[in-house]
């Protein structure tokens, strides 16, 4: 889905070394910007999902300032507040909570805001990791070809042959073995990021590799080669900008997937510590109360996760169409 036709020609003009840094990215982004902006303005779905996603992201980022309580501070919790229904007074403590409390007496609203913060942090970091790894591998495999390509693509095969959740489970297990016990808790979230990120790089690698193979045979790259530009420079300045479109689309959808993957891992018993629950952990806890009548413990975090993932996915959809001029 890379689109060499739009970016190829103007990159072709910039054969001389000096002209590249200023002109190519600047122009590229200007064109993208205007096209994308236009498409955004005319798509109600994009506007709505954009606003919703932004609202959730902002709320999560600002959680420490806007949340009524700090659910990650165990000493501030009162177990007797547990299972308070939304907007009702707790029979023992007399406290009232807008969205009720969970099984530990945590204010649901605060827990969700802080939880979304963790989920987003894990998701964004994991996608960034997958992106960096995937792009690097894809560029090298596509540009160098030969054994580098064979090795990287076979590694990708191995990766694909293992279900991603399985890989994340196993990476989690290894990390637990390697990290000294005293640091496991603080490292848990990073381990999670690495586990999800590592299980997700292949998509980026495949797309970048494909695009790179197409680009590298183009005249402007050949020209850059002829004048002796370093391969690293060629990759970074000529090829990379041309594959960023599809990469961005995968990254957006990957973000939603990573957030869901975090929740799934939590269901399988690995993930962030229960004292600092993510949105996924809250759902895992909440689904235990599906039959017992405490619906709010599951419903609110589930709706929040659904809204967030849906908004991000719809944005990804729109971005895919917006970046593909033939679909316009």
């Amino acid at each position: 889905m890379s689109d060499p036709k739009t970016s190829g020609p103007q990159a072709n003009e910039a054969v001389t070394e000096a002209a590249i840094p200023e002109r190519t990215p600047g122009r590229l982004f200007k064109i993208w910007d205007s096209d994308v902006a236009y498409s955004f303005r005319t798509s109600p779905v994009a506007i709505i999902s954009g606003v919703v996603a932004l609202a959730i992201i902002l709320a999560a980022l600002l959680a420490p300032w806007i949340a009524p309580t700090n659910p990650f501070d165990p000493a501030s919790l009162n177990l007797m507040d547990g299972f308070t229904p939304p907007m009702q007074e707790n029979a023992f403590t007399g406290n009232t909570f807008l969205l009720g409390t969970d099984n530990q007496g945590r204010d649901m609203l605060s827990a969700m805001l802080y939880g979304a913060r963790i989920s987003l942090f894990v998701g964004v970091s994991a996608v960034l990791l997958a992106m960096v790894l995937g792009i690097t591998a894809g560029l090298i495999a596509g540009y160098r070809g030969g054994w580098a390509d064979a090795v990287l693509m076979r590694i990708a095969d191995v990766q694909l042959s293992f279900p991603s959740i399985l890989i994340a489970l196993l990476i989690f297990g290894v990390a637990r073995g390697i990290i000294p016990p005293s640091q496991r808790e603080t490292m848990a979230i990073w381990v999670l990021i690495v586990a999800i990120g590592l299980s997700d790089w292949v998509q980026f690698a495949r797309i970048v590799r494909g695009a790179t193979m197409v680009e590298k045979s183009k005249e402007y790259v050949q020209a850059a080669k002829v004048i002796g530009a370093h391969p690293f420079k060629i990759l970074l300045r000529h090829i990379l900008p041309n594959v960023m479109g599809p990469v961005l689309v995968i990254a957006t959808i990957g973000l939603a997937l990573a957030i869901i993957a975090e929740a799934t891992l939590s269901f399988l018993g690995v993930g962030v510590p229960p004292t600092q629950p993510s949105l996924g952990t809250l759902i895992r806890i909440g689904q235990q109360y599906l039959f017992s009548g405490e619906w709010w413990i599951l419903l609110f975090p589930a709706v929040m996760l659904l809204t967030l993932a849906l908004a991000v996915n719809l944005l990804g959809d729109w971005l895919r169409d917006a970046l593909n001029p033939r679909l316009r």
Binding site: P74, L77, G105, G269, Q288, S292, G293
Partner: protein, 531 residues
Amino acid sequence: MKLSAPSLGRFASALSVSAIAIAAFGSAVSAETIRWARVGDALTMDPHSQNEGPTLTVLHHIYETLVRRDIDGSLQPRLATEWYIHPDDPTVWVFKLREGVTFHNGNEFNAEDVVFSFERVRAESSGFRALHTAVTGATAVDDHTVHVQMEGPSPLYVQNLTNFFIIDSDWSRENDVVNPQDFAAGEESYAVRNTNGTGHYQLVSRDPEVQTVMTYYDGHWDEAPQVTDIVYTPIAEAATRVAALLSGEVDMVQDVPVQDIARLEQTDGITIATGPENRNIFFSYDMTSPQLISANVDDNPFSHPEVREAMALALDRDAIRQVVMRGQSQPSAAPLPPFVNGWTEAMHSYDAPDYERASELVRSVYPDGFSVDMHCPNDRYLNDEAICQATVAMLGRAGIDINLVSQTRSLHFPLIENWETDFYLLGWGVPTFDSAYVFNFLVHSRGDGFGAYNGAHYANDDVDAMIESLSTMTDLEARNQVVADIWEQVMEDRVFLNVHNQLLAYAVRDGITVAVHPENQPHMASITIDN
């Protein structure tokens, strides 16, 4: 394992299940099938291989023991009608065996089978070896009397026999299963899937972790039970298990999540039975090492009596009972269920939480408080992770900052065995119904087969000596005094931060009456059905 599995659920009529059973064994007249779901499956059908909850529960239906543990914790006759210490020799146990008992294949049950079973249960590959280390040999005096020779006087040994199943000696020899499964052998033992016991039920089919079907053995010595057919299905997910009961696909759920009890009680057509399990849930901590693995201070905070007292004051057991356990627990100060020998009313009582005093105590040693890791299993006990979380919050109010590490049981328990945790949650059942079992594993200093779960690193020579003396004391009154003395020291030293004894809940469809068994081993032959 070829079976056209008779399905659970009202979707497959219960009739088809019993129809198959009747066709195969052609006896039962008023057939009652019970569809029974539990979180886990039996691991094996070999009666001497795995000493593990669900395995024992299923095996009790097929095989029988010499003595059986009743609902109230007392010992009742089963294959043995009488048992006593030999009047002339305190090191010999005498068992009088029931007459007229036959195995499922028709073989007659006699003393030779018991002697053979004693050999088999003590084999290298037996999972029950540790319970019979005091035995040196068993002999058949006549067809229905067995003498068991002990190393020394062992007045309470019979308490170790409630999960000791009797297997047919001839059948075992014929099928080459003289010893339990040997892991090194590399091949499957015949006894893993085939059975020949004397129990109420015989095995019809078994698909591990999917379904086990049993039917009444009409040659059984006792009166015929109402339940003639059993379909046992493990359902791992709590929500699915409860759903299966709510939708009428199973008749009985053995592991009911505590939060669902209230809803199930209010549901038409469902009844709940609750009762105490023989299992206490408690925290323990390394109180002996000069330094901890995870603490942020130079010495060992748990070595200070003030800190241990503060933790006892900070733990709000009643709040845990009310919110986390929904009332399904008996809070207590000592890790001992009330029906176990050595329990006293005094051990049960605990102080009301006092966070101010707790905080003062902590700060008298560490003005800024301290931090330490706590290890917790998340798939072993009722709401284990939630108990730990609640405790973290309570200790936080006392100035103790806890990092909670909660993980699966196979990662949790080795930490205790290998002394790799400073502070942990553990549940302990007392299958022998005697305090000595607690002391041997949790209180005696580690070594020589003692103290495997003494994660407190507790070591007190006097206490060790008293514990060792217990195993051979024949004067039960004097022995009970020693037990009381040990408990007093242990409680004074605050070796355990006990939370509660957990209650079990079984959910059944209306018309079925079942009592909660303290060992969590319900027996379908004791169930009554009133449609």
